[in-house]
Symmetry: C2
Subunit: 495 residues, 2 copies
C-alpha cells in the first residue's frame, strides 16, 4: 500500500463528507460550511475546465484574500493543477517573470488587478478575470478524488541570496505533513478557529487554508491586517489561534491597551523572524500564549515551534523541530556544538523537493535529504533553537521578505549605476525597511529621486529602497564579496 | 525528499527531546516521563543487543501488560527489530506455530510465562526471561534515530475465516498513519490521557502505546480489565479517552450505577463489533460520549469512526472512514448502492501491506490497493457505515442471510438480558438456524419462551432464535470480543 505513489483522499471533498455542516470559512460575515466550500470549488473547477484548464497544467493565481480566492485555490487542486501563488504587490514585470519562469499556461485573477492582467495578456499569457465567470453555465468537470502526495500542489517564488527569484515546489505531501507536524505540537480542539490576516499567497496564509480542510476547523479570513478588527474578532468570535509576525503583534498589543483576550484564545503563533524580548515579556505580562516559530517557504511553514510548556522559560527561542522534522547547526562542514552559531540545516517530509527548473540551486540547497536554510542560529544545551539572522542579509519588512540581491540587481541595470548594495535598517513601524548604497559611474549623474522612480518600475513598493545613499565604494572582503552588514557603518560615516 | 524511503525521527527518542518531563506512562501508581521511558528503552535495547539481537531480526514478545513490556517494545523498535506480539492466552503449540511461521530468531518473555518459555526453548527457540537481565551490565547499543515508514514494525496473527493464523505485517507507516487519522477525528488536548485496559498484544492496545509517543500524551495502563478500577481512574485520574468493547462498556455502566463521569472525560472509543442500540441509548442518557468505531489488525486499529457531531444522530453506525482512508461496499463485484449490504472494502496508508509469507492470501485480500475485509455492512444515503457482521459469522438459513448482531441487539433490549450471543447451527431442513446464548441479570428472571416471544416482536420469524440457552458467561477473546464460533462448544457443554 505504501511505497510507489502514496495518495490520500482529496482533502476538501473528504472533509465535506465527514463534516459537511461545520463552518469552514468566514469572510466579511458570510459563513461557508465545508459542503458549501466543496460546492463552490466544484463550480469553479467546472468553469476553469470549460476554458481548457487541465490536469498537469500550471496556473498563476493573482488574487486578494477573499472567500472566492479560497474556493478557486481548491478548485485548482480539484483539477490537478499546479498553482503559482502570485504576490499581489509585485510589479507587472515581476509577475511576468514568475509566470514565464514557472511555465504557467494560464492566469486567474480578479477585476481589481485589471491593469496587471491587461499587461500580462499583452505578453502572451491567457488570463481570466473571475468576475467574467459569473452566471456562466458549464458542464461538470472531472475532479481528483485522490491527491498524490509526491505531486506539486503549489509554487511560490523566493529570491534567496543571489539573483532571480526561484520557484519553490510545494507538494501535497509537504502541505499535509506541515499540517500534521503542527497539530502534534499545538493540539486540536473541536472548536478551533484560526484567524488568517496574512496573505494567502504566502505560505503563512496558505498553510492556514490547508490546515482548515485537513483538521476540519473554521478559518476567519481578513483581506488585510487591521489590528482593531483583529482584536475585535479574537475577543468576540471565538478565535483560538492566529498567525502573526512581530510588526502585527506590536500593533495588536498597542491597540489592546488594558483589555484582555479571552481564555479560549490559546495560540499566538509568532513567525517571520526573531522577536524582541521586550515584546515577548509584554505578552507574558498580559497572559498572551505566544508560540514562537521558525519556518520558510521551503519548509511549507513552521518547522520549529516552541512547545507550550517552554513558551515562557525559553523566551526568545524558536523551540525544537516538530515531531516529523530534524535540525542541526553546521559550522565549517561539521555539526556545531551547543551555543556555537552556524547555518541552520533541516530535514523532514514538509521540506520542498527543490526549485523549479533550477537543478544547480536545488543541488546546492538539498544535500542527502538535508536542506541548507542559509539562516544563522545556535542550539542551547537542551536543543532549543535560537535564530540569529535570516539568511544573514534578508530584510523583513512588515512580514514581507526582501532580498537585497534583488534590489541591487535592479539598481545595477541603471546606466549610471556602477554598483549597488542594499540592507535593512530599523524602522519603528515596519520592523525593517530597505536602504540602498550606490556607487555612480560619475558624480551627480542621477538623483536619489530618479533612482527611486527607476526602482518602482521593477520592484514592489515595499521593496523600493526608502533611502538611497551615494558612496565612493562598497565594503567588500578579500574575495570581493559584498559585506552587506558593513553598510550600516557606511551610513554612520556618511552622516 | 519524499519518495524512495521516507523516514521519520525515532518517535519515542524525539518525544523525549520535545517533552522530556511530560508523563508518558502510569502503571500501578508508578509514573514514567518520556525521558524515563526513553532511558528504560535504551537500557533494554543495550541488554538485548549484548545477547546478539540485531537490526532486521524478528523477535517474539510474550508479556503481560506491564510497564516493562512498554519499554521492551520500544527497545525492540530502537534496535530495528520486527516484533511478533504473542497472545498470552495461546497454547504452547499455538505459540510455537507463530514463532516458527514468522521466522522469529528470539523470544522475550517474563517469569510468569516460564512454562511456555521452557516448552519453546526445548523446541529450538532462543528465549530470554526479562527478570534474568536485572543488574546485568551491558555496553550501549547503537539505536535507530530514524524509522523507515515502509519497514515492518510489528507482526500480529489473525485467523481470518479459515485455516491457520496468518501474520499481519504492520509497518511503522501503518502505525503512524493510524495515529494521525485518529487525531484528525478525535482532536488532541494538552492534558489528554488514554486509559489502556485492552491487551497490548492486540492492535487495540498497541495502537494506544503508539499514539502516546506520537501525540506526547499520558497512558494509564492496567494489566487487565476491572470495571471498578476503570471507573475509579476515569473519575479520579483525569482520564480523557478509553478504548472499550461492548462487554467492557456493559460492565462499566452497570458498575457506575447512578454516578457520573467527569466532563473532562471526552471519548469512550467503542470498537470490536456492533454495539446494541440499548447500550448506546443508555450511554446517551448518562451523557457518556461514545464514539463507535470499526477496525481490525489489518488496518492497525480504527479505520472508521463516528465523528463527534453525529455520535447521537447516527446511533449504531460506525461512522465514516477517517480522513486518510476510503471505503466502499462491494456486492457481486460492483459498488453497492446505499442500504445494500455487501463486503466492506477499505483503503488507506494505515492498511497492512500483507500477510507474512502468504503471497496467495495477500493477493486475495489486497487488490489494486484495496483491502477486502470479509466483513459485511452497508452505507446509508449519507455515507455512514453500519457494520452488520463478520462474514464468518453470517448465518444462512433457507437462503436468507441472518446477521447474529441483529439478534443480539434485540435480545439486549430486554430488561433482564445482561448480554447475548447468537450463532448458526446445522439444521436438516433449513441448512442453518440461529440459536442464542443469553446471560441474565439474575437467574430465572425470564423464561426461554418469554424471550422468544420478545424476539418475535422485532425479528422476522426465520431470524428468531430456534433455541435460547442460558449461560453464566459468553466466550470472549483477550480483547473481550465475542467469539461466536465458540458458542458451539457452550451448547455441547450445556447438554
Amino acid at each position: 500500500m505504501m511505497g510507489h505513489s502514496e495518495c490520500l483522499p482529496n482533502w476538501l471533498e473528504k472533509r465535506s463528507e465527514l463534516s459537511p455542516e461545520r463552518i469552514a470559512l468566514e469572510f466579511k460575515d458570510q459563513r461557508y460550511s465545508f459542503l458549501d466550500m466543496h460546492n463552490h470549488a466544484r463550480n469553479w473547477a467546472s468553469a476553469f475546465y470549460s476554458e481548457g484548464i487541465r490536469r498537469g497544467d500550471t496556473v498563476g493565481l493573482l488574487a486578494a484574500s477573499h472567500a472566492d480566492t479560497v474556493f478557486i485555490l481548491h478548485a485548482l487542486f480539484y483539477l490537478g493543477v499546479k498553482v503559482v501563488l502570485l504576490n499581489s504587490r509585485l510589479t507587472q514585470n515581476e509577475l511576468r517573470f514568475q509566470l514565464d519562469d514557472s511555465e504557467a499556461s494560464f492566469l486567474i485573477s480578479e477585476q481589481i488587478y485589471k491593469d496587471q492582467v491587461n499587461f500580462l495578456s499583452n505578453h502572451g499569457i491567457t488570463a481570466f478575470i473571475k468576475e467574467d465567470f459569473l452566471d456562466k453555465n458549464c458542464g461538470e468537470a472531472p475532479i481528483l478524488h485522490e491527491f498524490v502526495l509526491e505531486e506539486t500542489a503549489t509554487i511560490m517564488y523566493t529570491s534567496g541570496t543571489t539573483g532571480k527569484p526561484k520557484g519553490v515546489l510545494q507538494t501535497f505531501g509537504n502541505h499535509w505533513w506541515s499540517a500534521v507536524g503542527s497539530v502534534l505540537n499545538l493540539g486540536l480542539h473541536e472548536k478551533d478557529t484560526w484567524l488568517c490576516t496574512v496573505p494567502v499567497f504566502h505560505i503563512s496564509g496558505l498553510s492556514i487554508l490547508m490546515r482548515s480542510v485537513i483538521y476540519g476547523i473554521r478559518v476567519i479570513l481578513h483581506d488585510s491586517f487591521n489590528e482593531k478588527l483583529v482584536n475585535d474578532d479574537i475577543r468576540n468570535k471565538g478565535v483560538t489561534i492566529i498567525s502573526v509576525v512581530t510588526a502585527m503583534l506590536n500593533r495588536m498589543i498597542s491597540n489592546l491597551g488594558d483589555q484582555k483576550y479571552p481564555r479560549t484564545f490559546r495560540c499566538m503563533l509568532l513567525g517571520g523572524g526573531p522577536a524582541p524580548r521586550s515584546l515577548l515579556e509584554d505578552c507574558k505580562l498580559k497572559h498572551i500564549p505566544v508560540f514562537q516559530t521558525y519556518g520558510m517557504t521551503e519548509t511549507s511553514s513552521q518547522i520549529v515551534t516552541l512547545s507550550p510548556e517552554y513558551s515562557m522559560e525559553k523566551l526568545g527561542s524558536a523551540g525544537k523541530p516538530l515531531l516529523p522534522s530534524e535540525l542541526y547547526i553546521e559550522l565549517d562542514g561539521k555539526k556545531a556544538p551547543a551555543y556555537q552559531a552556524g547555518e541552520i540545516v533541516v530535514k523532514g517530509p514538509n521540506v520542498t523537493k527543490g526549485y523549479f527548473n533550477r537543478a544547480e540551486e536545488t543541488h546546492k540547497a538539498l544535500r542527502d535529504g538535508w536542506f541548507y536554510t542559509g539562516d544563522i542560529g545556535y542550539l542551547d544545551d537542551e536543543g532549543f533553537l535560537f535564530v540569529m539572522d535570516r539568511r544573514s542579509d534578508l530584510i523583513i519588512s512588515g512580514g514581507e521578505n526582501i532580498y537585497p540581491a534583488e534590489i541591487e540587481g535592479v539598481l545595477s541595470r541603471h546606466p549610471h549605476v556602477f554598483e549597488a548594495g542594499a540592507a535593512g535598517f530599523s524602522d519603528s513601524k515596519w520592523g525593517q525597511v530597505p536602504y540602498a548604497f550606490v556607487v555612480l559611474t560619475q558624480e551627480n549623474a542621477v538623483s536619489e529621486e530618479e533612482l527611486k522612480e527607476f526602482c518602482k518600475q521593477y520592484l514592489a513598493s515595499y521593496k523600493t529602497p526608502k533611502r538611497i545613499i551615494f558612496v565612493k565604494e562598497l565594503p567588500r572582503n578579500g574575495s570581493n564579496k559584498l559585506l552587506r552588514r558593513e553598510l550600516h557603518t557606511l551610513l554612520e560615516e556618511e552622516q
